[in-house]
């Protein structure tokens, strides 16, 4: 038993109901994307909102347990984590009144529809009024949550605890100039391909599914605790520590998109499967933050999946299942996996230029929430900054400001976690290479021996779940936090050497 103190045990007992409802909501969310008959959506949404209300109610009912637990004199790290997490949740539900939640969910439901419509027609004006309301409500949310220095801090904190504009500015401030230099050099030297003929080749779903299943086998994913299905937008859902589900996509061309969706989600799943099972039933059986979660998926997707060593491992498998790859060798496959070029769409961007796309969104969100930028100025600001950072200008808003779903859902503060993920993945690689030896590490990947890597990730990061804040976890593992240098060095080494 992780909890020694009676008061924390009481907290855990009270939390059981919330955990159970959470498990149900997790399954409902998964099912909605994967198997639900579409007409069931309405009744499903009604049930979900009822269950969310119950979670809120039970969370607030834990106030008394929390008061007792806070009095404990020497809580262990698990108890500290549980108390911290409970304070955070209760604080949130206390500060955000049900009426604001309702307004927010109505505005985003409406906004989601108008956004889709606007994107189809490439007409920002169709989305503008709804987005204005959503931004207004997000500002109100920030005000109610409270913050120091910058209102956007309140929203960043929802996804990445204790992360701030100051930290993000520092991180991006180091990254953007070095990445600019890197891309200029890549384009100048012309050693890295901008595109590859395989991007245009069509594939059939069934053999591609075989490829993905075999890749999961390469990584030794545990069948009894894990499954893979299909959805338009791939995601991972941890129902419980022994039931983690990913999805992948089959668009029919450019098969690496399917491969890397699979490996990315697998990375999330490995994290979820590796939480200390004694944390099950508590809020600590979760990722340390969205950014840390993303670091685990990007470590596997980019650092392992797009490596030379992995290209060697996967090429025979591809040749077996996808006959059209047979004329290419492992070097071709490596190059196909690692093209770098300016692109307008974030989700299509490569490992290098991807970070510009996120930085752009970060700058916009920061200014929007602060009032330094108005919704009406968005398209122009977007296009200018895109041109400055990536070097190309969207021909229309569908290819620009309207491309992402996030703002229609009011998820301001989420985007930066994508780069936090890259940054922590870089820190992870550096530390792992230091611990295991770089040659030894990559030698293992080459042989398909992933267990030492998995064990390292589990022992240093994953087993801790949400026990530590993302910052404390980084300090514990790396001795510093949100440090982009290792990630930048990794990219420079990879694309210039």
């Amino acid at each position: 038993m992780l909890f020694k103190n009676k008061s924390v045990k009481a907290l855990a007992e009270s939390y059981k109901r919330i955990w159970s409802i959470g498990q149900a909501l997790g399954l409902m969310g998964w099912d909605l994307e994967v198997y639900m008959p579409e007409n069931g959506a309405n009744a499903r949404a009604n049930a979900e909102s009822q269950l969310e209300l119950l979670i809120q109610k039970y969370m607030l009912e834990m106030k008394k347990d929390l008061r007792m637990a806070k009095k404990e004199k020497s809580p262990n790290v698990y108890e500290q984590g549980f108390i911290r997490s409970t304070i955070r949740d209760i604080d949130y539900f206390t500060k955000i009144p049900p009426i604001l939640i309702e307004k927010f969910s109505k505005a985003t439901a409406k906004g989601h529809i108008s956004w889709r419509h606007a994107r189809e027609k490439s007409d920002f004006s169709k989305f503008k009024p709804d987005l204005e309301l959503i931004v207004k409500l997000a500002r109100e949310k920030a005000e109610r949550l409270g913050y120091k220095k910058h209102p956007y801090n309140a929203l960043l904190d929802l996804y990445e605890e204790e992360f701030t504009v100051a930290k993000a500015d520092k991180m991006f401030g180091k990254m953007v100039p070095r990445l600019k230099k890197l891309t200029e050099k890549i384009y100048r030297e012309e050693k890295v391909l901008r595109s590859h003929p395989l991007e245009k080749i069509a594939y059939k779903t069934e053999p591609m599914r075989q490829v993905n299943e075999k890749i999961l086998k390469l990584f030794d994913m545990p069948n009894g605790r894990f499954r893979m299905d299909v959805s338009t937008h791939p995601f991972t859902m941890g129902i419980n520590v022994n039931d983690v589900r990913i999805t992948t996509r089959y668009e029919g061309t450019d098969f690496k998109r399917s491969v890397f969706s699979t490996i990315h989600e697998m990375g999330h799943a490995i994290y979820e499967l590796n939480y200390d099972s004694r944390l099950e039933g508590t809020p600590l059986s979760d990722g340390a933050s969205v950014g840390v979660h993303e670091s685990q998926s990007r470590f596997w997707e980019n650092i392992i999946g797009r490596s030379n060593a992995f290209a060697g491992l996967v090429t025979p498998l591809l040749k077996k299942e996808l006959p059209f790859t047979r004329r290419y060798n492992k070097n071709d496959i490596y190059q196909y996996f690692n093209c770098v070029k300016p692109s307008l769409i974030r989700v299509d961007a490569d490992e290098v230029t991807y970070n510009f796309h996120v930085y752009l969104r970060y700058e916009i969100e920061k200014k929007l929430i602060n009032g330094d930028l108005e919704v009406s100025e968005l398209p122009g600001y977007w296009n200018d900054m895109m041109e400055k950072l990536v070097g190309i200008r969207p021909k229309n808003d569908a290819l620009g400001v309207l491309q992402d779903v996030h703002w229609s859902g009011g998820s301001f503060g989420y985007f930066p976690t994508y780069v936090v993920g890259n940054v922590i993945a870089g820190m992870t690689l550096q530390k792992m290479e230091k611990n295991m030896g770089s040659a030894a590490l990559w030698g293992k990947v080459q042989k398909g021996q992933f267990n030492p890597i998995k064990t390292w990730l589990k022992d240093n990061i994953q087993k801790w779940g949400a026990v530590y804040t993302p910052n404390d976890l980084q300090m514990k593992v790396f001795g510093n936090s949100y440090n982009p240098d290792p990630f930048l060095s990794y990219l420079e080494r990879k694309y210039l050497d």
Copy 2:
């Protein structure tokens, strides 16, 4: 709005939470059988039992609302149904203490394991002690629930409201002698086949899945509200009125088993899809009883699916998808669908002898709960009665008393609903033929025009959900209840003419 009175509206408002948790539990139950990674079972079971406790808690919290609603002077039929159903549920949770529920669920969890083991080894003694405890607890349950005349009545009522030993004795009393005569005549005349070569032919899953999908299309099942998956033991789960799911099975030989599993579950699904949508969110969006539900599945499976007209409809489809059927004509297919022979296993039994299997279990349950039969006497009693009714004697207990899962789960009172289903399906056919004209009805089936039949079922039975007791519903539709004559006449006509 179906509810006019303020107090019943309040009841409905309180019920929303229960409905939402019920929807979640429905999905969890479905997922468990169909997609859940097996290691997730433990955490899943914990979450489910927490959610069930919440339902019990909220149900009991409705006592005050119920008290007010009961005072209403002129409730409409929907309000009457809601009040009746709420009384029933609260009564159950009031009379059955949590400690008994816990004992019961521990005993059945243990019993399920020992039953499986006993069946594998064909050794009743391995199951006997657990079954003795389960029977003891079932008797205690009956005592606590209360009953008039016979303790088994308390258990029958759980599945078939107001159904009693007296009614069941009367029903079976009419059925058994006439069915005995019928089978003797069938065997004597030798016009009906006992077995068919197609029973031995192996099939592949994918074309068989195509057959089932096409059969569902024949019946015009609505894709946006319905789906089909695979499970070992087929079942239907109505998540909500616009999200109903069935499963079917692919055992690899004797393809009619897959066909009739599909049509049987489809029959359940049609019922679930046809509840008046205004009942959604209340306990009335449910079947009138387990027996009435079973009548809907058996109507489609046996009366429609095993008819001559349907054989004509399905034969071309079979020939297209399953090449090994091409040497048979629609008459052969009809005969293959309708073999009659003595068999030891209930789930393999035909439409005629099936009823003996259920009657045997009914007699045993009645005597077990009453104390007229002890668990130790079960195997012998079973074998004697099997010989008397069906004419063959099980060589071992796996083929006899150990074949069904029900008793290990403590579901005493459930079995009779299978025959109630047959009986009400027969009454339904008779009434429908009277209303629509027999020739017209079967002419429509021949042409694949199922809408008039669906509409009849919806208007007379299905749209009412659980508004009426099963007895009242039958009185309203047929003018009498649990009358086996139409079913018996249907069988005699089908197998002797």
